[in-house]
Amino acid sequence: MSDQILTIVSWLFLGLGSFFYLVGAFGLFRMPDVFTRMHAVSVSDTLGVGFLITGMAIETGWSLNTARLIIILAIMLYSGPIATHALAQAALHAGVKPKLADNRLKKSRRISATREIAGSSNIQAKSSAPTKSRSRTARKSSSATRGKGRGQSSKR
């Protein structure tokens, strides 16, 4: 009986993991620029991998394989943020501008509003050509919030 419950629970975890993994991959596929794609990949890197590995660990029971799975999970949970951080830093350093980021800035409000409409109506538009920007910090913070919002809306 408890075996059956365990099996059902592990199935649930595996299914959820597959779902989130696919969601992350679709985000990687559809998102408009590097930073939002990064956000989407983090979904599959944490939720997807976490659920899949938990499901497998439940199925295996207590054994050496569980330890291996946990080590893999730990490595991936640590390495994912590091890699993403390095990626974002390198991209910003290289002058890749986050898309739709400048509608928080007062001076270019009107232009960016039109750009946002264009961007949201055409999600799979390729990222705009990299342009140099001086005010990086403001753009970074606003891009983070926007990226999150977009990611959640696409997840539903």
């Binding site: 595996l14 696919l22 990687l28 590097v34 599959s44 991998v49 291996r68 390095a86």
Partner: protein, 101 residues
């Protein structure tokens, strides 16, 4: 797959999901307009390879090979960091961060 009992069904689903995800990541690696897209996709492909390895290990009934998954995970982060460090500084041996052996 002759040994496809009910217990393995969910593994099959997960394997197919991971394969689809791999395909999407490869598409992004090919189409990605900037190099960072490609690096991100490479990272995603590495993750997919690890998960596929684990799932296939369970599918074929020999999950001992998860050790290799650990190696993949470490390699993945090293490769990604090498590429990104290269872009950030234009040099792998920058600023004394090269490991002193």
């Amino acid at each position: 797959m002759e040994g496809l009992t009910e217990g393995l069904f969910m593994y099959m689903v997960a394997a197919i999901a991971i394969l689809v995800a791999l395909g999407l990541a490869v598409f992004r690696a090919l189409a990605g307009p900037t190099v960072f897209d490609r690096a991100l996709a490479a990272n995603a492909v590495g993750t997919g390879a690890i998960m596929l390895l684990a799932i296939v290990g369970f599918l074929t009934g020999r999950p001992e090979f998860l050790d290799i998954g650990i190696l993949y995970a470490l390699l993945n982060i090293i490769a990604t960091l090498a590429v990104l460090k290269f872009f950030r500084y234009g040099d792998l041996g920058h600023a004394g961060e090269e490991p002193k052996d």
